[in-house]
């Protein structure tokens, strides 16, 4: 038996509200299947299961707020002796004990999400105000159609503010549209303190405050001549239809992923006062939400993906991030973060590491700049790449090797 617990969908998460089970007892599930939707400060996340088995019991009701690490379901494994293997086991045998949901994670868990939760306990943060559950349990459970829920997520409508006009007060699409209209009309009014925006702000505040307090950052910066890479990209894009075109950001992400192969010390986590590098290179790509806020979902195994796969994956990821349809593995697995602020004309990014990761790579705008080489002065397309890294885990020498490797890969864009 495996106890499936509420994953930590980011260092800043305290609890999640179960929106909907996607499975019922007796259902057969495979590793990677989505078994539930959970509402967090960063939207509704699709929770994946990380074992093959049969759902034995669902322990949490729709609408319940569940602390990170608390047991949500019991899954009977097909191979009882085989706990999940692979990059990150997300469930762990905890024994047969079924305590209240307030039970903190058991000590000594290797399960990453629980480890993060445990890590956080030693660094108490001011608790954000009690999250108002989207749906309340029991007979007062909120009724809403899946398409209305999706629309609400897309339009960033707080469901607790929507008045349902369907049968038994069910919320339908027109109610969401009405709420969106009302929201638009009152756009200039200050947001209510329990709004989605405020919750996300609080979550980011908690993670960043912890980062600045706990992580001794060091910063390195390098100028990269992008002339060759951009020339190659221009030639390549000319051959491609508009749907197949690549953006420079994809080259940068691939270069970072390959450079982590050369300097693996920067790929992974600092958990329990220990440097824990990871093999899988899962790059968190910072996506800003226009209403405010930030999510950095993971692009899995970026080092193994082609530029086309990365481009397609990124586009899909950005759309789903903004629509609030991310999967749990995308929220938890990032082993490093890349942020690209070049679109806004920023030249240099000084990043704050997203705990418990080890580093953040920042890219600015690619701009024409004077460039001296071999005693000659010329004009080149220059990109400033910066590294913010955790000095507990690595030293500047490693960081310098890493930035140099990124530069090297970008000089040979045709081989990326």
């Amino acid at each position: 038996m495996i106890e499936f617990c509420m994953p930590s969908l980011g260092a800043d998460m305290e609890k999640g509200v179960l929106v909907e089970w996607k499975v019922k007892p007796g259902d057969r599930v495979k590793r990677g299947d989505i078994i539930a939707d959970v509402e967090t400060e960063k939207g509704v996340i699709e929770i994946e299961v990380f074992v093959d088995g049969v759902v034995e019991q669902l322990l949490v009701k729709q609408g319940e707020a569940v602390p990170v690490g608390a047991v949500m379901a019991i899954i009977r494994c097909e191979k009882e002796d085989a706990p999940p293997t692979g990059t990150e086991p997300h469930v762990e045998k905890i024994g047969e004990k079924k305590d209240s949901l307030d039970q903190p994670p058991e000590p000594g868990l290797t399960y990453k999400a629980c480890s993060i939760a445990k890590h956080r306990e030693t660094h108490p943060l001011e608790q954000p105000s009690e999250a108002k559950p989207l749906v309340s349990d029991g007979k007062n459970r909120l009724k809403i159609s899946p398409s209305a829920r999706k629309l609400a997520a897309e339009l960033v409508i707080d469901l607790t503010t929507v008045h349902g006009t369907g049968p038994e007060g069910a919320i339908n699409r027109s109610d969401i549209e009405q709420a969106a209209q009302t929201k638009k009309e009152t756009k200039k009014a200050p947001a209510p303190p329990t709004g989605f925006q405020d919750k996300m702000r609080q979550a980011i505040a908690a993670a960043m405050a912890r980062s600045n307090k706990d992580i001794p950052h060091y910063y390195l910066e390098t100028r990269i001549d992008m002339s060759h890479a951009l020339h190659w990209l221009e030639m390549e894009n000319r051959k491609r239809s508009i749907k197949e075109r690549l953006l420079p950001a994809v080259l940068m992400i691939k270069a970072v992923a390959l450079a982590l192969g050369d300097v693996p010390e920067l790929n992974g986590y600092w958990i329990d006062d220990r440097h824990q590098p990871r093999e899988g290179v899962h790059i968190g790509f910072a996506v800003s939400l226009r209403q405010g806020g930030l999510i950095a979902p993971a692009i899995h195994d970026a080092d193994l993906k082609s530029l086309d796969e990365l481009m397609e994956g990124l586009r899909d990821l950005i759309i789903r991030t903004r629509a609030g349809r991310l999967r749990s593995s995308e929220m938890t697995d990032a082993t490093i973060t890349v942020t690209n602020l070049g679109d806004l004309g920023v030249e240099t990014v000084y990043g704050v590491i997203y705990p418990p990761q080890l580093a953040l790579v920042g890219f600015g705008k690619i701009m024409e700049q004077p460039w001296a080489e071999n005693g000659m002065l010329g004009i080149r397309q220059v990109l400033k790449a910066t590294l913010a890294a955790d000095h507990r885990a690595t030293d500047g020498h490693k960081g310098a090797q890493f930035l140099d490797a990124i530069n090297g890969y970008l000089q040979e864009a045709d081989k990326l």
Binding site: L155, V156, E234, S241, I242, K243, L247, R290, I318
Partner: protein, 81 residues
């Protein structure tokens, strides 16, 4: 296709990319990217959307001249049947 019809298509595509934006407030000479906070991925998604709706394939080298609503409407009206 009239300029008004092209504008409707542009707004439809933009509405999918930035659903929270109030497009009525977008002025003809506003820099769309800055006004609507659109990044390079959104821009490409926009051009793909225009390509799907109107069949106009905009080469990358022309992106730079398509900054405002007026720019884009003029560019497309010269290329749409």
């Amino acid at each position: 296709m009239t300029k008004t019809e092209i504008k409707d298509v542009i707004f439809r595509v933009l509405g999918r990319i930035a659903p929270e934006a109030n497009l009525d407030e977008l002025k003809p000479d506003d820099n769309i990217q800055k006004t609507l906070d659109i990044d390079s991925f959104d821009s490409l998604t926009f051009f793909i959307g225009i390509n799907e709706e109107l069949g106009v394939d905009i080469p990358e080298s022309d992106y730079g001249q398509l900054v405002t609503l007026t720019d884009i409407i003029d560019y497309l009206s010269a290329r749409v049947e």
